[in-house]
Symmetry: D3
Subunit: 107 residues, 6 copies
């Protein structure tokens, strides 16, 4: 995704690392695991960022969220953003889970 | 808020307890603390549910999130939903924090 | 609301009558009652147009929707846009209903 | 769609029947036809639930809405959610209508 | 896109020309170039109208916006609507730019 | 607004200057006037950032947009985000215009 930016907006790729990752995710006040819970919830609730939601479901698994926890976060979005938002989030998770070798211990 | 529903949509008050609380929040796969991270993030990102965001900032404090952690969640929303969403979330938090005696240990 | 436009954007007041009312609402393919169901649902689901939602709850009553039917439409929005959207819609209806003499037959 | 949930979030499939269908759609205060008007309008206005919009255009036809009435609902969304929302809704309807044998009486 | 409307909602194709183009874009108070800046920004920020965003990136080039200016508008949306909205806008621009012969002078 | 952040999220006030203003608005590829057109359009279309919309209507006047041009941008949002978004934007502009001495040359 970042590579695709190189020819059109190379500086944006820089900002994308500097502000979210350099400034926000590196702050000590919240764990990376908790940050991914927040991001997965927000992107699923907004419903306008399906590619980025998949990236963060992947990232969530990488920082220690289980598949079950991610599924629970997405289901919960039905309450706040409606069933379609939850469903579309669950379908995104299903794709990410299917593409990924089950290196995680079984739940 | 629930009382206000009693005269117009009493059944809705029931659903409000049954589905979110009876069905979703009581599920064992995700802690209440993590559920409130997800809800605070989602409501701040959506930007259309300021009263409910305040309720959940309050709820987050009640299930163990610190003021600092809630502030971090809201700041992080700038990355995914823009600075206005983060700012309006921080202003909601500021109101909730100000109205609440600092029973929480200082951060 | 229209008067408030007169000094800043008088032409917009004209468009507001011409396109929605002249072009859309006057079309024979859907009754006014059904059009107000659609509008109330849409505005409540979007959650960004509280003043206009109130105008259309009023309009819905004027074209024959009962208070109960409007309440049902708003409750249903919990399924598609989340509980906060439904709740904020119900609070808008509560205000409109309270301000209005019960000229409608009791439900 | 429901089948796809079975392996990732089987309980969610249950909730999907219990709350929207068991609790909301079965309520006597609004006809199924009127409920589908509300849902089609809301999903088109939100613009984040294209798959679910198609499901409900189909459902609308099944509970007695004509193709013309559905087209009117979607056109009307231009007023409240903008022309792109209306257009994307009309394109969804066009796909559903094309895939469906014209069992409905011609309009 | 307009052709696709002809068989389902021919009147809507008419409205689509009359209101946006006949009424709004033809008004003297804002240049066509400035109008396309506004539309590109709005559609990218909303995140629910990717096909229409591409149409207006194309239109923006046609009324004199440079590729660089369009890229700047889209990057700026990260501030107001979040990085995913900006990214998805940039990807839309990348597609439009790639499909178009570089008739514009190189930037 | 920034002062209000000082006691709850002082670092966020810093980010608010660094990323939007230090990184984005200072880039040479788009004029400040054009940047404000984009921001006013985006915030009005989103409909979730009324306080920030007012700040940028003010900023737009400061970098050379006329009241008429701002009014045109907001009216145009009816096409892309619906009449309520345009109306709520026009009401925001009306407040800003009224509070501001007419230092601008008359239009």
């Amino acid at each position: 995704m970042i590579d695709a930016l190189a020819d059109i907006a190379p500086d944006f790729a820089t900002y994308l690392f500097e502000f979210p990752f350099g400034d926000i995710y590196s702050r000590p006040g919240l764990s990376l695991r908790d940050r991914e819970i927040a991001t997965i919830a927000a992107l699923a609730a907004m419903g306008t960022a399906q590619p980025q939601l998949k990236v963060h479901i992947e990232a969530g698994l990488n920082v220690g969220l289980s598949r079950e926890e991610i599924t629970e976060i997405l289901m919960q979005m039905a309450v706040y953003a409606g069933f379609p938002a939850a469903l579309n989030g669950l379908f995104a998770a299903r794709e990410v889970f299917a593409a990924r070798p089950v290196a995680e211990p079984p739940e």
